[in-house]
Amino acid sequence: MRYKRVAAVAMMASLALSAAACGKEGNPTPSGGNASGGAQSDTCKSSGVTFTPKTDANVAGSPTFQKIKSAGKVTIGVKFDQPNLGYKDAQGNRCGFDVEIAQYVASTLGVDPAKIEYKEIASANRETAIKGGEIDYYVGTYSITDKRKNDVSFAGPYFVAGQDLLVRKDESSITGKDTLKGKKVCSATGSTPIQRVRDEGLTEPNNIVEFKTYSECVSQLLDKKVDAVTTDDAILKGYAAQNSDELKVVGQPFSTEKYGIGLPKDDKAFRDYVNDQIEAAFKDGTWQKIYDGTLGKSGSSATPPQLERY
């Protein structure tokens, strides 16, 4: 049984190695765009807009606001793997359009953006996380739908996207939603796009592939295990921008997705307040600055959408 002892020593050595973080400081940057490349920087860049917390923030009659105020911090649900929308880089910095909208809203609630606690919530768990109070609000490509309004409420929309398809660069047979028959289509479990693919029968049920996050789908797409990734164009453009040598967006949106900020259902005072703040950002140019500095970098321009208060 000598090998057991050898194995023990080897294991302890590897443990010690993994425990001693003897690493370089600074930003991990991938070395140049080589063969399988088109590598872009992984490092987060903010749009440069600074959010100063409001000192006199108050939302009368809002339990959510009371909770945030007494905690002195705000817990926000976000995505972590969507470039230019909600992304976390290797340094642990977060950036993107959704993240900055979340920071903006936090600042209007009187919370310093540095005091935000971010939680990564998968698409399928968003309603439960808001209902259960795990997070105070959710900003992460969250489409406003009537069904979801049964469980949560929405402020916004703060952005309008459309469902589109991401394919490999050399793909020529997929040109739009009606060309998906017989192709493997991947999307996130519990997301609106996958429900649409299923409900409209865009491809056969056996060809629907589901993962928790879109980045897993993108990996499967590059590995040729699926033929298309479908979700909102805003998300897909971010991936295409990160790997422009191998990926492209089809560019034929076939839906309208209105992104809202997911809020607890019965807190109308809070919803109205957040809507007011979004409207203010639309008017004073903050929204545009955030957009241009984040999502706008993947190449398309946009104007603020129409708020839908209810």
Binding site: Y3, A124, I194, Q195, E210, K212, K225
Partner: protein, 218 residues
Amino acid sequence: MGDFFRVLTDNHQVFLDGFTNTVQLFLIAAVGSLVLGTLLGAMRVSPVPALRAFGATYVNVVRNTPLTLVFAFLVFAVPKLDVNIDYFPSAFIALTVYTSAFVCEVVRSGVNTVATGQAEAARALGMTFGQVLTLIVLPQALRAMVPPMMSVFIAMLKNTTIAAGFSVLEAGAIPAYMAERGEPQMVVLSWIVIGFLILIIPLVVLQRFLERKWAVAR
């Protein structure tokens, strides 16, 4: 309470498909891991040191790796090596690779429960290796092996649910699917539990029966 039965009747197709896939996955992975596990077990009791070391390394590595990681490796890392396996076969391979380490241990300890004297006596009677194996060792070893082997397979049946995280629509994937349809999770999960109880109880009963029946003979 009306909700309780409505959830099942409204979505019976999803439940049926889910559990059918679970049972399929279970059956083929059971056969797969029985074959691979026995092979590894044979390596571990073989007279060739290299094979013994290989078997031992396999068991020690796989047994100390989470099954979820085995799944993740097959689905996300293996395609990067230009090996393209579909999702259902991936799940089958992951379960087989993982479970066969446990099957191997059952086989090995089963063979080891047979007293050396038994085989020595048999050889003294002039039996050949084949005779010793089939007439003396295996009949005794199998009795010791069957109950723990059943435990391994019951555990594997439950482990099939992990495939849900890797794009296989089986019983473990039903909750997410139902969340899309807005069904109450508590009820959905309760039905899944009932489904698993229906699958597992006969196995447990059979296992205890065999255990009692053979415990005396040893």
